[in-house]
């Protein structure tokens, strides 16, 4: 009986913590929403958008990010089936793809700079491309840390309940930043 009370309270604690990640996702969405609203009002009042062709690298990075999400999904599935070695493998691949994504994004900035679309720019819409993609990379960094903690949990074989928790947190966050980037990319494509 005592044990079950404790279990119950612990379960509630995990549920509440998972909810925290969801709320973080909400507030982060709103921050990006603030920037894209800036963009909309800006381009409506000036009658112009960023007006450049977005670097091709963004296409590649988008694909990489999508694939990474797929691998994270596979990792969760493997974990649920008790297949811990493939779980570890898939988690590692997710991290590698995440890092690749970051590198590609930075490369994309490089190619923008080469075409003369600098960050410090009299067209704020162009500067905003850097701002949103830059803050998105910060999220990727945080996401990598979460996936890494899930991976560490798997290696150290911490208690199952906490491993589940870490996997769930990492998944929620990683899929979120995946969708967030797609939103940003499509937004920038449509509002050139």
């Amino acid at each position: 009986m005592v044990q079950s009370i404790k279990q119950e309270e612990l379960g509630i604690q995990f549920k509440a913590k998972k909810f925290i990640i969801w709320l973080f996702v909400v507030s982060s969405t709103i921050m990006f929403g603030g920037w894209t609203s800036y963009y909309i009002v800006f381009s409506a009042s000036k009658g112009k958008g960023h007006g450049i062709v977005l670097p091709e690298l963004f296409i590649y990075s988008t694909v990489v990010l999508l694939v990474s999400s797929a691998f994270l999904f596979l990792a969760s599935k493997a974990f649920k089936n008790g297949n811990y070695s493939s779980q570890k493998l898939f988690l590692s691949i997710t991290i590698l793809l995440g890092i690749t994504f970051g590198v590609l994004q930075v490369d994309a900035w490089g190619s923008m700079v080469r075409t003369g679309a600098f960050f410090s720019n009299n067209n704020a819409a162009i500067s905003l491309i850097y701002v949103v993609s830059g803050f998105h990379i910060l999220h990727i960094f945080a996401g990598i840390c979460l996936v890494f903690s899930a991976l560490m949990g798997a290696y150290k074989e911490i208690p199952l309940q906490r491993r589940i928790y870490r996997m769930e947190i990492a998944s929620i966050f990683w899929h979120f930043i995946d969708i967030l980037w797609i939103y940003l990319y499509v937004f920038l494509l449509l509002n050139s």
Binding site: Q13, K15, G34, Y38, F42, A124
Partner: protein, 629 residues
């Protein structure tokens, strides 16, 4: 016997999973993860910041009352900034800016929500702690760092930020614009980013705790109105603060990286700046999208606190509990679509202005509903005038008088005249600077026994209340008339303008009242700090209230309740229920123990309970009849 030992083991278990076996000074008082300690940290930091901000306001009030007198003592304290004993214009602007920032954000957001959400959410909902105690601790330390950084700007040569608490660009975006636009502004921005991070961590925690960690029986409609208010406030913060971050980030880039988000066509002296294409109006949109919800972030916890206090001390159920909740929800939603009323004169399309005007006037409806419900709760109550009660009633008074002027300002046509005058200053000081502060003080008086296990002195409380109440009206009421006469806010010397000179005598009067108000706070500070150590020991339930926090022992334990968390059976407002033995029935008393006072609607249509109640009543009637015969 067996139950006792069961509770005992459970108790120990609990300690294990919190991992708090050995508490050192550092983990208990400094890096505490206990919500009750964090609440106290927020409160005391908030009080210190409030005293500082009040001091700043006295400084600029002195300047306003006696613009061409010298006060050598000022130079002694402020040095350069008051050379010759007179506050310099640059410093005057810094003073109003930091006063506003501290009061709005540090005192009435962090100090108010941070204290009472932390203290009451777990205690009134029956939880052992917050969803994430660690995040909660971090929230406090981010707040603390924000305070330190904000204050540090007084110790740099160019002084603190001076662009007003709304830091409109270009003043805030060009580091060389005025003195305060330099390093001071940078520190302001850093401080605010930390502050927002702190608020978000806190708010996310509060929402998650409310939604996930309520004790058995505590469904949403059994929550005290305090919790509803804190919950909606936190929601509002989560949904609006990120927008401020978005705006601040762009501002930082404008300042330091040569972007043109808010800048265009600027000539500084003889130099034409390269920035083009941005718009300072866009900052105003981003700022007020947060800024308006922010004013409700400030008032809603105060409203929740007074609901609770007014009901307890009127010994009556709160009038219109559901209406109160729906008004709070209405305010929360509406507050996202009214921000334009701060921008009527930015050249906005009149049609859009009309829309914002309508939404603004609609938000007055839920505000009025709340006011009437307070009055109806007080009506024919069995009122106990504790200091907390007086402050809660004071809140109602200020909320009415300040809310009325809001309706004037909400009319675009009137606001064209009133915008940026002292009328606005009067409006928001009544509704925020007075009402919200009174709500906070009411909360301090009411929950002091819960926080510190001791009572505050009532006599000093009354003295504090009356002096503060009177001086607040004396300070802020006359400002309306300055505003109606077109006197603009944030002007340094009234002597410089013909039409403002006639108001100098009023300014002297207002300044004296402000000084009286400030001195009144000494009564509070003494009472507060003295009572922490020497106050009378508090009983467990000093106000005979129903809510769960008063079922927890006076000494603080990590985990709040020894043994099991209490279960909740009824709503929190069963005061003076006809047929009950006492005039309050705590939420933990099941209906089976109060057969004589149960009402049909208590059972929410549960036919089994209704049947039991009916049988009991029949028995009771039969017994009575037998006695009579």
């Amino acid at each position: 016997m067996s139950t006792i030992s069961l509770h005992d083991t459970h108790n120990h278990d609990n300690h294990d999973d919190h991992g708090h076996h050995k508490e050192t000074f550092l983990t208990k008082y400094i890096f505490s993860q206990d919500h009750k300690m964090i609440a106290k940290q927020f409160l005391i930091t908030g009080i210190i910041m409030a005293v500082i901000a009040m001091g700043l306001s006295i400084l600029f009030r002195i300047q306003l009352a006696w613009p061409d007198k010298n006060f050598p003592i000022l130079e002694t304290f402020l040095g350069e900034w008051a050379a010759g004993g007179r506050i310099k214009p640059d410093f005057y602007l810094a003073l109003v800016t930091i006063h506003g920032t501290i009061m709005v954000f540090f005192v009435l957001t962090a100090g108010l929500s941070g204290t009472f959400s932390n203290l009451l959410i777990p205690l009134q909902l029956g939880a052992r702690d917050m969803a994430s105690p660690f995040l909660n601790m971090l929230s406090y330390w981010f707040f603390f760092s924000a305070c330190v950084i904000m204050m540090s700007s007084f110790f740099i040569q160019t002084g603190p930020a001076s662009a007003g608490w709304t830091i409109y660009p270009p003043l805030s975006a060009l580091p060389t614009a005025i003195k305060g636009s330099g390093m001071g502004m940078t520190l302001w921005l850093i401080s605010m980013v930390l502050f927002v991070a702190s608020s978000l961590m806190g708010g996310i925690n509060y929402v998650s705790t409310v939604l996930n960690m309520r004790t058995k029986g505590m469904d949403l409609w059994k929550m005290p109105l305090t919790i509803w208010a804190f919950f909606l406030t936190a929601t509002l913060g989560i949904l609006s603060f990120p927008v401020l971050v978005a705006g601040v980030v762009l501002l930082v880039f404008d300042r330091s990286f040569g972007t043109s988000f808010y800048l265009s066509d600027i000539v500084m002296g003889t130099q034409v700046l390269p920035n083009e294409g941005g718009s300072p109006i866009l900052w105003q949109h981003l700022f007020w999208f947060l800024g308006h919800p922010e004013v409700y972030i400030v008032i809603m916890p105060a409203l929740g606190i007074s609901s609770e206090i007014i009901s307890v001390n009127s010994r009556k159920p709160i009038f219109g509990y559901h209406a109160m909740v729906y008004s709070l929800i209405g305010i929360t939603i509406l507050s996202f679509i009214v921000w334009g009323h701060h921008m009527f004169i930015t050249g906005m399309n009149p049609l859009l202005g009309g829309v914002f005007m309508i939404t603004t006037l609609i938000i007055a409806v839920p505000s009025a509903v709340k006011t009437f419900n307070y009055l109806a709760t007080l009506w024919r109550g069995n009122i106990r005038f504790t200091p907390a009660m007086l402050f809660a009633i004071g809140l109602v008074s200020f909320f009415i008088s300040g809310g009325l002027t809001g309706i004037f300002l909400g009319n675009a046509a009137l606001d064209i005249n009133l915008h940026d005058t002292y009328f606005v200053v009067a409006h928001f000081h009544l509704v925020m600077g007075s009402a919200a502060i009174f709500g906070m003080l009411a909360g301090v008086y009411h929950w002091f026994p819960k926080m510190f296990g001791r009572m505050m002195s009532n006599k000093l409380g009354y003295l504090h209340f009356w002096l503060t109440f009177i001086s607040a009206y004396l300070v802020f009421f006359p400002l309306h008339f300055l505003g109606l006469d077109g006197v603009p806010r944030r002007y340094y010397a009234f002597t410089e303008f013909e039409f403002m000179q006639k108001w100098l005598t009023v300014n002297v009067f207002v300044t004296w009242s402000a000084i009286m108000g400030a001195l009144a706070q000494v009564a509070f500070l003494w009472n507060f700090f003295y009572s922490i150590f020497k106050g009378k020991r508090a009983p467990q339930n000093p106000w005979e209230a129903n809510t769960l926090e008063w079922t927890a022992p006076v000494e603080h334990l990590h985990g709040n309740w020894p043994g099991e968390i209490p279960t909740v059976y009824r709503w929190p407002y069963d005061y003076s229920k006809p047929g009950a033995e006492e005039d309050f029935i705590p939420q933990t008393i099941p209906f089976s123990q109060t057969m004589s006072s149960n009402m049909p609607h208590d059972f929410e249509g549960n036919s089994e309970s209704e049947r039991i109640q009916r049988e009991w009543e029949e028995q009771e009637a039969a017994a009575k009849k037998a006695k009579l015969d």
